[in-house]
């Protein structure tokens, strides 16, 4: 329970409460608190915050406005992964929320607390109250108070004491806070971070023009791209690069699929630049994917072949670090920074609508391109047979991605028409095609490595045998996935889903 009080009335309030009940004072505490989360804000999406103060870590639940789990952990550096915490409920909760993502520092603040316990005749604590001030020090050295409140925490089963105290504090100028948010939530919200599911792309109004909608979509994607870019630069975890690449891919998709909005000559250099960024990140990502698969690869090989594969992965890791360094160097170049500035200017400075779609309602344009993309997916999907080559499935996968991106971009305009359900159906198809493509890419790369084995100094025969073993296993998995595809596409292209797509795209 949060209350607001006038400054410098703390002592008066405590004296008033003490005249009504027995109060025990606790030592004042001043702590520096650090907020941790993954770059994709997995804790915040679950309405939680991980807060560190000294050796103490707590998981704060914003839905009930209090810490739910605490643990002590002595470390020189901040923990990065759930595995860095001691075994127990805390670690398990973190594991289930953040999975393999690494923790980063979101922000830091200072918290002053003066707390008191109200005791009954048996000296049992029946209520707790504390004066809490949360503040930050700004860049110019000033103190900025984020939140200042009297927090009352009744103990279950002792309502009488709460009822005794409330009138007393009311008489002393204490009022219930209108803003019930916990100070931590206020702080994070001030930074633009919000609890619960991170908002999807927002299109501000259903009557928005195509040009404005496309700009909003690009602004959102660009912001996300820069967030993930920070993760890549800090080398937080390998998923940051994946997320960065996905953003770049989505930007390229939005540029190429929704046509005739802006001058194509103006857009052309941006398209080329984003393509180049995608290309530059390829090698690092390919190596990351290999390294992520390491444990899986080792598990499917006989023990005798594992040591040689371990050595092989060590070399890959070294190579991966080098490629990662090259990538980070590129992201720090003036050329890259210059390109970003130009793109940002394009997104935010006024420009004329010159394409034929620019001034049309966004919903009309969205329908047109989603319909076109959906038809392409259905055509390509239906043409795939057991004798089709792998490339055909790869092409279908690309078309599914384009459709999915369009549906994601414009989903705010179709929420009432069940677009989320259709996106889930499409996702099942994409997942299957994704697995198939992963296996295909692994197979191709391993064949390449096989050709290079003769140059390998340590046990080339063993390495060849190991790669051969992996290739056999991957081929079996690929065939299973290929067989599963037929059923999954049949479900996706069912009459039921066709009807749902028709309903989605029908004009008002």
């Amino acid at each position: 329970m949060k209350y607001i009080f006038e400054e410098n009335t703390q002592d008066k309030i405590v004296a008033a409460i003490s005249s009504a009940v027995c109060v025990k004072s606790n030592a004042a505490a001043k702590k520096t608190i650090v907020f941790l989360d993954t770059l994709d804000k997995r804790l915040m999406k679950s309405s939680m915050a991980l807060i560190q103060s000294g050796k103490d870590y707590e998981l704060h639940d914003f839905d009930i406005s209090k810490p739910v789990l605490k643990v002590a952990l002595r470390r020189k550096t901040l923990p990065k992964l759930w595995q860095d915490f001691p075994e127990g409920v805390f670690r398990e909760t973190l594991k289930n929320t953040i999975d393999f993502r690494a923790l980063v520092k979101l922000t830091e603040a200072e918290l002053d607390i003066k707390s008191y316990n109200v005791l009954d005749a048996a000296k049992k604590t029946v209520l707790r109250f504390s004066f809490e001030k949360l503040f930050i020090t700004t860049e110019d050295g000033n103190i900025k108070i984020i939140d200042r409140a009297l927090i009352i925490r009744p103990v279950k089963g002792y309502d009488d004491f709460k009822k005794k105290i409330l009138p007393v504090i009311a008489e002393n100028g204490v009022n219930k806070a209108r803003d019930e948010r916990h100070g931590f939530e206020v702080l994070l919200n001030n930074l633009g971070l919000h609890m619960g599911t991170v908002r999807p792309i927002e299109i501000s109004s259903p009557d928005i023009s195509t040009a404005e909608a496309v700009l909003e979509i690009h602004r959102y994607l660009f912001q996300k791209m820069q967030e993930h870019e920070r993760g890549v630069l800090l080398d937080v975890d390998s998923e940051c690069l994946h997320d960065f690449r996905v953003c770049v891919r989505k930007i390229r998709s939005a540029l190429s699929q929704v046509k005739d909005v802006f001058d194509s000559e103006v857009l052309s250099p941006y398209k080329d630049n984003f393509k180049e960024i995608g290309r530059i990140t390829n090698k690092t990502r390919d190596l990351d994917v290999y390294l992520l698969k390491k444990d899986y690869y080792l598990s499917i090989l006989p023990e005798a072949l594992r040591p040689v594969l371990e050595r092989f992965f060590r070399k890959l890791r070294t190579k991966g670090k080098l490629e990662s360094k090259k990538l980070r160097s590129y992201l720090l170049t003036e050329e890259y920074a210059g390109f970003k500035k130009e793109w940002e200017d394009f997104l935010y400075l006024k420009k004329d609508c010159i394409g034929k779609n620019a001034c049309k309602p966004a919903v009309v344009t969205a329908r047109k391109y989603i319909r076109k993309s959906y038809k392409t997916v259905m055509l390509k999907g239906r043409s795939i047979s057991p004798s089709s080559i792998d490339d055909e499935l790869h092409e279908l996968r690309i078309e599914c991605k384009k459709l999915r991106y369009l549906m994601d971009f414009f989903s705010p305009l179709f929420l009432e028409r069940g677009i989320k359900n259709l996106t889930e159906q499409l996702k099942k198809l994409q997942d299957c095609l994704g697995v198939f493509n992963d296996l295909r890419v692994q197979q191709d790369s391993l064949f390449e490595k096989l050709h290079e084995v003769k140059h390998y100094k340590h046990d080339p025969l063993f390495l060849a045998a190991a790669i051969g073993g992996l290739l056999t296993h991957i081929d079996m998995e690929k065939r299973k996935t290929r067989m599963a595809f037929a059923e999954i596409f049949k479900e996706f292209s069912s009459r039921k889903n066709e009807t749902l797509f028709e309903k989605l795209l029908i004009e008002d």
């Binding site: 810490p67 739910v68 789990l69 605490k70 127990g88 409920v89 805390f90 909760t93 009954d120 048996a122 000296k123 049992k124 604590t125 103990v155 279950k156 089963g157 002792y158």
Partner: protein, 253 residues
């Protein structure tokens, strides 16, 4: 949700101390924990400085779960609540006998409590009655503290036979030695030999006889809170860790 009773026909064997300390450790670990003090002596309630409300008479409590929840009190420790004992609990058996399915009352009472609690500990009175049968039937595990002496072991055997006669699951019983004094040869022999001979499951942790545990009545706190560095505290932590394995990763015999 897990329900753990601490039970023995004999009194003075360390039941309440075990219930209080294990409930504390469960809460400390982050589990939402409720300690039900069904012993009308109210020792567990005393340790946590909680008093029952007048509305928490046994007739009302067993009627529905809502009545239990309304009479629960928060302890001084995060995640730990207490259902304090009420004097009317001495009439538990009489009240239970008048119910439609007297053997299932406690089990039904705790159904659906998993939205509120992860672990429920029950401090049971030292007798063998309809209430005991109810608690045994409702529990996932029954911890049986034993002082390592002949008479204590005999009472354990009687309990085991009683469980088997009633066709209840004897693997629920987890015995452990309590108030163990290393300097006594009888204690040492019993701890060493009885587990293998008994036919029941024994936890390996023995809680030592300790003045720190006796002083709980003065500190009115669980031992890991008042004396976290004591051997007694370490023993309860080991006991809790063993119990956790049985609760969350059951070992098949």
């Amino acid at each position: 949700m897990n329900i753990v009773s601490i039970y023995n026909i004999k009194g003075g064997v360390g039941k309440t101390a075990a219930a209080v300390n294990l409930a504390y450790l469960s809460a400390f670990d982050g589990f939402r924990t409720l300690l039900c003090d069904f012993d009308p002596q109210g020792s567990a309630s005393f340790y946590f400085r909680t008093q029952p409300s007048e509305k928490s008479k046994v007739k009302k409590i067993i009627r529905k779960k809502k009545n239990v929840l309304e009479n629960v009190k928060g302890s001084d420790f995060e995640n730990l609540d207490i259902l304090p004992a009420h004097m009317s609990f001495r009439k538990f058996d009489i009240v239970l006998e008048k119910q439609k399915k007297p053997g299932e009352v406690i089990r039904n009472l705790f159904k659906g409590m998993e939205t509120h609690y992860d672990t429920i500990f029950i401090d049971c009175p030292p007798n063998i009655t309809l209430l005991s049968e109810n608690i045994i039937a409702a529990s996932d595990k029954i911890l049986v503290p034993l002082i390592p002496t002949t008479l204590s072991v005999i009472s354990y055997q009687k309990l085991l036979e009683f469980i088997l006669r009633k066709d209840m699951d004897s693997s629920k019983l987890l015995a452990f030695f309590s108030m163990f004094e290393k300097r006594k040869s009888v204690h040492r022999d019993t701890v060493e030999k009885v587990p293998a001979q008994s036919g029941g499951i024994f936890l390996t942790t023995a809680i030592p006889y300790s003045s720190v545990i006796e002083k709980m009545g003065l500190t009115r706190q669980p031992v890991p809170a008042s004396n976290p560095n004591s051997p007694a505290s370490a023993a309860y932590v080991r006991l809790w860790n063993e119990l956790k394995k049985h609760l969350f990763a059951p070992i098949s015999n």
